[in-house]
Structures are given as structure tokens and as C-alpha cells.
């Protein structure tokens, strides 16, 4: 009996030791424990060692975070990235641009306009990326699910969830699209006010309208 207990003890110890042996240790630095990542750059530097030095070297090559951002490529070649190009026919005119007096009025309107351009471009990319993810996941799942009945059943449940989530995205896209397009129009009307004050009258009807229609069409969901 004593021998049996000893054998069981040895077996349990060996088993738990072996299990520990194959598990990796992953220690993430946490803010909030002592806040070292919030305020003390040196701590992050010491903790990350060479990994931090590489980061320093990489950012040293850029003159600013914007420069750093613009020199970076999208992770995936098939990933949607914001496209801010404008169709030649939709390019807008501006007399205000050349006048110093209207600079402040102009800058505010353009800033608002650009905010909505960025929002619309991002919205479109989220949609396109999710669509591509959904298609790829569904195609992959459909292929694998054919292999056995159990996987097939489990996959059908997941497939429904994925498709429901994508259908919800379509509704959200349409809601946000309406909101952002309205925001863009408001910004164009702001610009119109500036043009009426400092430049040519009726700017929106002559120039802004074509651009607005181009943007409406570009971001309208068509599937």
C-alpha cells in the first residue's frame, strides 16, 4: 500500500512537471500595476531591450508620426486602404483659396470636409475588409465542413453567426453612410458660405454639387 502511494505521488509529480514543461511563459507588461509604461519611457526601454532599440531606429528615420504612417504599407495586399483620389470631373474650384482674408473660414470648412472624407473612406474599408473576411471564412469553413458530419454541424452554427453579423454590418453601414454624407454636405455648405462671402456666389450649385454627387455614388453600398 505504501509503495502504491509513493508510486502515485511520483506519477502525479512527473505528470504535472511534464505538463509545465511544454507550456510557454508569456509575460506582458501591464500598466496600472505600477504605471511604468505610462510615464517612464526608460522603463519601457529597459523592459523591451533590443526590441525597443529597433523601434527607436525605425522612428528615427521618420521626421514625424505622419511621415512614419505614410511610409507604412497596409498589412495585407488585399486589404482596403482609404482612397482619397477625386475624379477629374468632380474636382472643385475655389476662389477663396487664393485670398488671405477668407483663410480661417476656408480652413475650418476644409477641415470639416476632410474629417468626413476620412470617416467615409474608413467606413468603406471596414465594410470591404469584413466582406472579404466573411467570404474567405465561409469558403474555408464550407470546404472543411464537408470532411465529417460533426464538423459539418458545428460549422453550420458558426456560418449562421458569421452571416448574421455581416447582414448587421450592412445595416450599420447604410446608417453611418447617411450620417457621414450629411456631414460632408454640411461641410460643403460651410464652404459655400465662405465662397459667397469672399469669392463667387452660388458655389455649391456650380462646383460643390458635382463633387457631392461623386462622393455619394462612390460610397453608396451596391451589393
Amino acid at each position: 500500500m505504501k509503495k502504491l502511494i509513493i508510486l502515485i505521488a511520483i506519477f502525479s509529480f512527473t505528470k504535472s512537471y511534464c505538463q509545465r514543461g511544454i507550456i510557454s511563459t508569456i509575460d506582458q507588461a501591464r500598466a496600472g500595476v505600477n504605471g511604468y509604461l505610462d510615464d517612464r519611457v526608460e522603463s519601457a526601454q529597459t523592459m523591451a531591450g533590443q526590441a525597443y532599440s529597433q523601434f527607436n531606429t525605425a522612428r528615427g528615420l521618420a521626421s514625424s508620426a505622419i511621415d512614419f504612417y505614410n511610409s507604412a504599407e497596409a498589412l495585407s495586399n488585399s486589404e482596403c486602404t482609404p482612397d482619397f483620389s477625386t475624379n477629374g470631373n468632380a474636382v472643385m474650384t475655389s476662389t477663396c483659396r487664393e485670398s488671405g482674408a477668407c483663410e480661417s473660414c476656408y480652413n475650418d470648412a476644409v477641415e470639416h470636409m476632410n474629417t468626413y472624407r476620412m470617416l467615409l473612406a474608413r467606413l468603406n474599408c471596414i465594410y470591404q475588409n469584413t466582406k472579404s473576411f466573411t467570404n474567405s471564412a465561409v469558403a474555408f469553413g464550407d470546404n472543411v465542413a464537408g470532411l465529417n458530419a460533426y464538423t459539418g454541424l458545428a460549422w453550420q452554427k458558426q456560418r449562421t453567426n458569421i452571416m448574421n453579423s455581416f447582414n448587421n454590418l450592412k445595416q450599420t453601414y447604410d446608417r453611418k453612410y447617411t450620417e457621414f454624407i450629411k456631414g460632408l454636405k454640411d461641410a460643403l455648405m460651410e464652404f459655400n458660405t465662405c465662397e459667397n462671402q469672399y469669392g463667387s456666389g452660388d458655389w455649391f450649385a456650380k462646383s460643390g454639387f458635382i463633387y457631392f454627387e461623386f462622393m455619394k455614388e462612390r460610397y453608396k453600398r451596391n451589393d
Binding site: S24, Y52, Q54, S64, A65, A74, T95, M118
Partner: protein, 156 residues
Amino acid sequence: MKISILVFFSCFITILTNAQPFTLNKNIKPVELKLVPYKAKDSIWNGKINITTVAQKEDTLYYFVKGLSIYQPIYISIASQNPKHKYEIKLCKDNWKSADRTAKLDAKGNWGMQFKTEGSFGLMVVCKEPLTNYKLLVWVGKELKNIGIPSPFTKK
């Protein structure tokens, strides 16, 4: 009118986008690299960071980072404490099977790259050694409001 693009989208994205590359393999259990606030000496580099120390005993470890905006710069680096060990590093977007970027460590045992992406990304670190140690750093900059987008105006 002051709109934070990040705030605007934050709830929206968590619901709608995938948090990590897709898989049906239940043995793949990716570890989230949680980002914490980071204040740099020069504030233009403020953002969020994750620094992780790893002693890897499995053949492959899977990580993911979520909550990213396409308007944020991202930098990731690995510094091995065993420069002679061979690593295969894979960055994945949609699924773990087809990597979007693959890389190896340089002669000093280091690797780093910058990129941008929306939502999330996955990282696979493959090393056939029974034990290898490395530091992993992920930095994500602030969401940029001005990325120098082309003007839609022409001179009259």
C-alpha cells in the same frame, strides 16, 4: 463638430470586425497582446504599447492585437535572446493559414516592421527549438487626424 474618428468607430468596430484571424482549429488559442498607454519623450510618438517577454516551448505561438484604426501607424519588433535560433514570423489578417507577411530574424536575432491595418491582426512565431526566449514589442501611434490627404480643389 470636433469628431474623434476613433471614438466614433470604437463601438461600431468591436461589434462588426473580426478580432483575430479565422480558424476552426480549437487547438489554436491566440494570446491577446493588450495595449497600454504609452507616453514618449516626444509627444508625437505617444500612443499605446505592448511589451511581452516570452519563453517559448511550443513549436508555434499565436498572438493577436485588436482595436486598430487604419489611420494609426503600427510598429512591431521581436528581439531574440537566442540569435542562433531560427524563427519563422508570420503576420496574418484573415486567417492563420495564409500569412500576409512572413519574415525571419536578422543575424543579430532581431526583426521589426511598420504597417497599417484596420481592426486587428494576428502574429505567429514559429521556432523548432525546445526553448527560445524573446521580447516582443507592439507600438500603435495615436490616430492621425491629418494624414495629408490630397485636396479635391483645383485653382480657378
